[in-house]
Structures are given as C-alpha cells and as structure tokens.
C-alpha cells in the first residue's frame, strides 16, 4: 500500500515537473532539438535541475541496503554497452525527433486530453508489445539452440 501510494505520488510530481518545465509541450522539445534553427535551450536546464537533485539522491541511495520505507533496493546492475542499447536508443531518438514526444510527456499530454498524445501512447504500447514478441521469439530460439 505504502509502495503504491508513493509510486502514485512520484508519478504525480514527475508529471507536474514536466508541465512546469514546458516539456509536456512537444513543440518546445523540438525547439531544443532544432539546433540549426531558432534554438530553445530550456531542455538543458530541465536536465540540469533534475540531475542536480538526482546526484545527491542517488549518492545517498547507493549507500543504502534498504529504502526509507524498508523495501529492497532494485537498481540496475547491467554495465555493458551493447548493440541493443545503442540501436534501441537511436530508434527512440528518431521517434522523439519526429513528434517531440518521449514516454513521460506523452502520458502527461494524454492526461490533458490531447488526441494526438493518445494516439502516440497507443502506438508506443504497441511498439513495446512488438519488443516483447521479439524477445520471446529470441529466447525460444536460444533454448532450441542450447
């Protein structure tokens, strides 16, 4: 219960931060990505503000065995810079540059009732399901090879 409540609250604050920073607006995100046109550096300041707080929080979190609410720490352990990381991130960046939406702002704009954001989130979920299918097929293939 505590876990779900703090999840909701963190999602809410995240969404409010996206709205306040202007990042829920795809046109503003594209203004940052358009360095050859009129450039809006706002996104860099969003990252600076978020990482400034994050650096402290993750330093503290890294030293803890359990969370403040007593839950197990579940931080990523993978260290490898591999092909899926690079190719996946390039595909993501391509999609981000096409419409100006990444996952968080897509969901926030959907909550605001923006029709194209609903279409974006629907397509994103389909994309994630395609990934699951590919992963399942890959695992099944690996099992038959073993």
């Amino acid at each position: 219960m505590k876990y779900n409540l703090s999840s909701f609250f963190c999602g809410l604050v995240f969404g409010l931060g996206l709205l306040l920073s202007g990042m829920a607006n795809p046109e503003k995100v594209l203004g940052f990505l358009d360095i050859a046109g009129l450039w809006d550096p706002s996104l860099a300041l969003v990252m600076a503000g978020a990482i400034g707080v994050g650096l402290i929080a993750f330093t503290v979190a890294g030293q803890r065995q359990r969370s403040l609410l007593g839950f197990e720490m579940e931080l990523p352990t993978s260290r490898s810079i591999d092909r899926p990381l690079v190719v996946g991130s390039l595909l993501f960046g391509g999609g981000w540059g096409l419409a100006g939406f990444c996952p968080g702002p897509g969901l926030v704009a959907m909550g605001a009732g923006e029709i194209k954001a609903i279409a974006f989130v629907g397509a994103m979920v389909v994309g994630m399901m395609i990934f699951e299918q590919i992963e399942q097929a890959r695992k099944a293939h690996a099992l038959t090879q073993a």
């Binding site: 931060g17 969003v46 996946g88 960046g93």
Partner: protein, 147 residues
C-alpha cells in the same frame, strides 16, 4: 546557432527540472527504484511480472498531473504539429527503441546520468544525436513543413 529568446524559459524549466529530480529522488529513496517511465510502462506488458499495481499507480500519477494542475491554473500549451500518421510512427519507434535500449529520457537521461552510469551516458548521447539528426532532416532538408 541563434537562441530563441522569446521561447526560452530558464527559470520555469530549471524549477520543473528540480521537481522531476525530486520525483526521481523520492522514488529511489522511498521505493528503491529507478523512475524510468518506459521501464515502468513496459513492465506492465511483460507476462511474467506479477508486481504490476505500483506501475499502474505511477502512470496514474503522471496522467493525473494535468488534472490537478487544471484545478489551480490554466494548463500550459501542448502543441503537436506532427500529423497523426507521423505521431503513430513516432510512438512505434519510441516504444520499440526504449525497450531495446532499456530506458528513455527519464531512466537514462535523468536517473542514469545522476548515477554516473556509463551505459546511460551512451544511451543519452545516442538518443540525443538521433533526435537532433531527425529534427535537422525534417525541418531543414525535407523542407520545414510539418510532415
């Protein structure tokens, strides 16, 4: 490079960034997890994961933010100039890409860089480069009109 001073919102964006950082801080300190939106959402679509309610709660929080905002003030503009087919293609690419790449702007960009993870730095450089490149092609090579 010409700075768009009319659109630049340094203080609001910094303040919004601090809120995003506080959310990521709260999530890792209270729940011990990375506040990565694509990972939270993608985990819901994995059959073997039974721990899904907190994921729905986090996403419900994101969806509720504009509703709470609208109770207090007018919502900021949300301008989507890409056409519907382009938005759908963008969504597919973002969905597949973030899952193969294990994260998006929040998980790699905010949390990963805060953890000084080389893997997240690489991912962030890749999606930023692809984002800059795509906007350059769409706005300056294809002709600038929204697709």
């Amino acid at each position: 490079m010409t700075i768009d001073w009319a659109s630049f919102t340094p203080w609001l964006s910094l303040a919004g960034g601090v809120l995003i950082g506080l959310s990521a801080a709260g999530f890792v300190l209270l729940n011990g997890r990375i506040a990565g939106v694509s990972g939270v959402l993608g985990g819901l679509l994995q059959r073997q994961k039974a721990d899904s309610f907190w994921r729905i709660a986090f996403i419900a929080g994101l969806l509720s933010a504009p509703l709470l905002w609208a109770l207090v003030a007018d919502l900021p503009p949300i301008e989507v100039n890409a056409s519907l087919p382009v938005v759908v293609i963008a969504g597919l690419l973002v969905g597949i890409g973030t899952r193969f790449g294990s994260g998006c702007t929040s998980g790699h960009g905010v949390c990963g860089l805060s953890r000084l993870s080389p893997r997240s730095l690489m991912a962030t450089l890749c999606f930023m480069a692809a984002g800059f490149g795509t906007v350059y092609v769409v706005r300056h090579l294809v002709g600038g009109s929204p697709l």
